[in-house]
């Protein structure tokens, strides 16, 4: 197996992988907006997390369909998993923004 992973690693073009940072920014912004929506709507408990999961699914689907044209393995080294995974940072960002907006709108008069 070692030879196949080496061969696959050889074919990766480093500057393009760096540009994939744009994907991380998109995920961050979408989790911010999802947090804002959840807070404004006053969603609680599992409904809020359900909205977060829905936002991840829809963002990944759009990127999958439009950017990756159905072949995420061609554009991302981690394939489908890396496309869908929001990353630990974005989960906490969602919770922070959700709490902020929930507090501003529903707790304070």
């Amino acid at each position: 197996m070692a030879t196949t992973t080496d061969n696959a690693a050889q074919l990766i073009f480093a500057p393009n992988v760096l540009h994939n940072q744009a994907l991380t920014s998109v995920k961050f912004l979408s989790s911010c907006f999802a947090g804002a929506v959840a807070g404004i709507l006053g969603l609680e408990n599992w409904l809020g997390f359900a909205l977060f999961i829905a936002s991840i699914v829809s963002t990944s689907f759009i990127i999958y369909a439009i950017n990756c044209r159905g072949k995420p393995a061609k554009y991302l080294p981690g394939g489908l998993g890396e496309l869908v995974n929001p990353g630990q940072d974005n989960i906490f960002t969602f919770i922070l923004v959700w709490t902020l907006f929930y507090g501003i709108i529903h707790v304070y008069d």
């Binding site: 080496d6 961050f28 807070g39 408990n45 809020g48 906490f92 507090g103 529903h106 707790v107």
Partner: protein, 269 residues
Amino acid sequence: MDRLSLYLDPQIRDWVLFPITLVMILVGILRHYVVILLQSPPKKLSRAATREQRALTRSQILRATSSNSPIPLSFYKAISQHLSEAYKAGTYLKDGPPKADAPSSTPNPLSDPAAMDGMMAGMKTQMVMMVPQMVIMGWINFFFQGFVLIKLPFPLTLGFKSMLQRGIDTPDMDVRWVSSLSWYFLNFFGLNGLYRLILGGDNAADSSRDMTASPFAAMGNAQPGQPQDFNKLFKAERDNLEFAEGLHSWVGENMDTKILRKYGKLAAL
């Protein structure tokens, strides 16, 4: 389910909620730039020392592509054997070919000044990271203590009550009403994404890196460069080169028959 709701003064929102977030964002950015300013530029190595470090990389690059190599066998062998001879004779070593009777020794990391610089840089970064966090926690505990700040939209177990409702002694209040310290924690974890957006991927304000890094990790990163005995490494590299030579296969091998087959001029296998 009774919708028991506390009425909170809007001034708490204006004077506590937003200021804490703003201060944490600004301190994070400040930390990032302080770390950049504190970093001393890497020491410039002499040409011989640089050549010694890069020599190993040359053979590694060659070996990495040996099974799908873009160069035909004769070229590959020429480079590979030239490197092998050079390693054996020690022409790439910083101090010239080793004398037969001199004992080889690895420089002690504590006495080698270059490695010490690496360790000090790591520890300095650690201190810069920790100090602002302690200061902000102290500031929040001093000024913003004893009142409820916000209601969390999600429930938590009772175990969190002592941590998140510090200073508010009500045994029956829902864990979702929390004090300012918990807002600090939420910000601490949640602002990493924002820092990544503003300061770029490799920023020094990222708190998730504080947890994983430690002075030992920094030491481990600084060391592999200097105190290694390149002579021994070169000898080991010769064996690797021989092994890779055996694995060599040119991607352009039999290219003429492959192309003819692809365009149908030759009978397929």
